[in-house]
């Protein structure tokens, strides 16, 4: 594949006054590709998302290279970045309630994006807005467009957010936990929609979540993050069917899904002992070693890099023949 990547991140660090939330992250999302960035709270996944959008909280700084659309986003000015947001790269946030302006009609908010980046008139933009809302399976779009955010449901709001993100056919959509705040029964609808809409527009998707099943359903490749680094990287099927890093393995094992419940109440989940280390007290070497069942001296002393053969940053990778999820 020679098509330019939707985004290419090289050795990204996100730091605050000596604290590093992200420590040397490299990955590539090909044009039209779908990648999942999975991790627990404190893994640095959300900081990565904010760094990619140039929306880091005050005091935090991104270092490294973020290549997108032929430019390095890190060197761009705030003004250049904001001109880009919504046009070549856009974001869907976790909480649709706080991402919409409460005192403006939702239709106008979508139309704003179209007008700002599409260079079309008010009337034309409204027409496109209604089309877009129809594509999002929103009921009675003309009427809904005149509603204020508080008048519509959470699922509808998130669909409005997706409509805004997709309005200008961006090359890349970054979705940060887009369904966590929604009711379980509407999560799937929203995911289905996000999946179909990105595919239609050939937009690349970077899905950031702690939810492994969501990644399994939505993405082609996955990067598993722990303590600010990628610990395993590869095609979703390969990584989830045959995890080589003990953290990935542990995450998969601790999922209470219908696959591994004996459903008579006698089964136990295997859990990862301990907790995610806080930023100021990261363990030496491989940050996972205090919780790892097979850690040795080398794990405590040296930080492993991603191994090309296994796709895992681990000194003692899980043997290739041990599937975590029965297939």
């Amino acid at each position: 594949m020679t098509a330019p990547a939707a985004i290419e991140v090289r050795d990204l660090h996100v730091v605050y006054d000596g604290l590093a939330a992200v420590r040397g992250l490299s990955f590539t999302v090909p044009a039209g590709g779908r990648m999942g960035l999975v991790g627990e709270s404190g893994s640095g996944k959300s900081m990565t998302a904010l760094a990619l959008m140039g929306l880091l909280p005050p005091g935090w700084k991104a270092q490294g290279t973020i290549l997108h659309d032929g430019v390095d986003l890190i060197t761009q000015t705030d003004k250049a970045l904001s001109a880009r947001r919504g046009r070549t790269v856009s974001m869907v946030f976790q909480d649709p309630m706080s991402s919409l302006n409460p005192v403006r009609r939702v239709g106008d908010q979508i139309a704003d994006v179209i007008r700002r980046h599409g260079g079309v008139g008010r009337h034309e933009a409204m027409g496109q807005t209604i089309d877009l809302m129809m594509q999002m399976n929103l009921p009675r779009p003309e009427q809904l467009a005149r509603s204020y955010p508080h008048q519509i449901s959470g699922g509808q709001k998130q669909r409005i957010m997706i409509a805004m993100a997709l309005a200008c056919y961006p090359q890349l959509i970054i979705a940060d936990e887009p369904t966590t705040a929604l009711d379980v029964t509407v999560q799937k609808q929203v995911l289905r929609l996000l999946s179909a809409a990105t595919r239609e527009r050939n937009s690349a998707l970077l899905m950031i979540t702690h939810d492994l099943p969501v990644i399994a359903a939505m993405c082609d490749t996955v990067a598993v993050m722990y303590a600010g680094r990628i610990v395993e990287y590869g095609p979703v099927r390969q990584v989830f069917r045959n995890p080589r890093h003990h953290y990935t393995r542990g995450l998969l094992d601790s999922q209470p899904t219908m696959d591994n419940i004996a459903l008579d109440g006698s089964s136990r989940l295997t859990s990862i002992p301990g907790m995610v280390p806080p930023l100021p007290a990261l363990p030496s070497g491989c940050a996972f070693h205090p919780r790892c069942p097979v850690a040795t001296d080398i794990c405590r002393a040296r930080m492993p890099e991603i191994d090309a053969a296994t796709g895992a940053a681990c000194w003692h990778p899980v043997a290739a023949s041990q599937p975590a999820v029965a297939s």
């Binding site: 702690h210 899904t257 419940i261 859990s271 995610v276 297939s327």
Partner: protein, 275 residues
């Protein structure tokens, strides 16, 4: 295995519980309309049994929790503890209920006073429920049960991670030696790798202490893992009761079907059948 017992003697039970709230007047002289939150609910839990309650938000889970824990008095129907009607019983019985039915809340960070040391927080239930005895020994006992170190006692909540705080909250609920634990979404605020720890702990407690556990959640897969019997609530009514495996394989009510459909698993995702 335990589902086959001959005689069920519920520890805590709701019988035909109905609750409605009055809505604010829409016009000055119009009649006040009311909104029925719970409608003829039957629900019970026995000692050593874990039962689940699932439903979408707005189905009435919160109100049911409040009635189960005696925070709210239902308009109609009975709350029975150990065969006694809670709201018809005297003050002594009410006190026994307060000691015997404890609650674990969703967000461990907000369920502990940030300015109170863990040791003090654990003593709170004993002090307010006026429980006599060797408090220090009780604290150590409970810390062992939830797998926490004694060094936790002198520290403040902000020094702990979410998973540890949820253990502390469970420890606090266990302090008065309750017979029923009502857990309202106890893992939904926790990280995936921590959720399993807390779920396993709850399962162990049910076994070891013969506790009755009421596990309330919106995610059927988590509830199914923890409990042996699940009630599905929708629009204020219990629409289906069954063993988790039955609900998963043969959901009868539409609400159950919705919840089963909503469950995403890694395997169905990889197979491309999830969405």
């Amino acid at each position: 295995m335990t589902a086959m017992t001959i005689e069920r003697r519920p520890l805590l039970a709701l019988r035909d519980v109905t609750q409605s709230y009055q809505l604010p007047r829409t016009s000055l002289f119009g009649p006040r309309s009311s909104f029925t939150v719970l409608d003829g609910i039957d629900f019970d839990v026995c000692a050593g049994e874990a039962v689940g309650l699932v439903g979408e938000s707005g189905a009435g889970k919160t109100t049911l929790t409040r009635i189960l824990t005696g925070m709210e008095r239902p308009q109609r129907g009975q709350v029975e503890f150990d065969g006694q009607d809670l709201w018809a019983a005297g003050a002594a019985e009410r006190t026994r209920f307060r000691r015997s039915v404890q609650m674990v809340l969703q967000n461990p960070r907000s369920s502990l006073d940030p300015r109170m040391r863990i040791g003090t927080a654990l003593l709170e239930p004993l002090r307010s429920l006026r429980i006599e005895g060797n408090h220090t020994r009780r604290i150590h006992e409970v810390l062992d049960q939830v797998g926490l170190d004694r060094s936790a006692l002198g520290r403040f909540p902000h020094e702990f991670s979410g998973g540890q705080l949820q253990r502390i909250a469970i420890a606090r609920a266990l302090m008065p030696n309750p017979r029923v634990l009502v857990a309202d979404e106890p893992v939904s605020a926790l990280d995936v790798s921590i959720q399993a720890q807390v779920l396993n702990l709850l399962k162990d407690l049910v076994q070891d202490l013969q506790l009755g556990l009421v596990f309330i959640a919106h995610d059927l897969s988590v509830v199914a893992y923890t409990t042996s019997r699940v009630s599905v609530i929708a629009a204020g009514r219990i629409v289906e009761v069954g063993r988790p495996v039955e609900l998963f394989t043969r959901p009868a009510a539409p609400a159950t079907r919705n919840l089963v459909d909503a469950v995403l698993t890694v395997e169905s995702g990889l197979a491309g059948t999830a969405l």
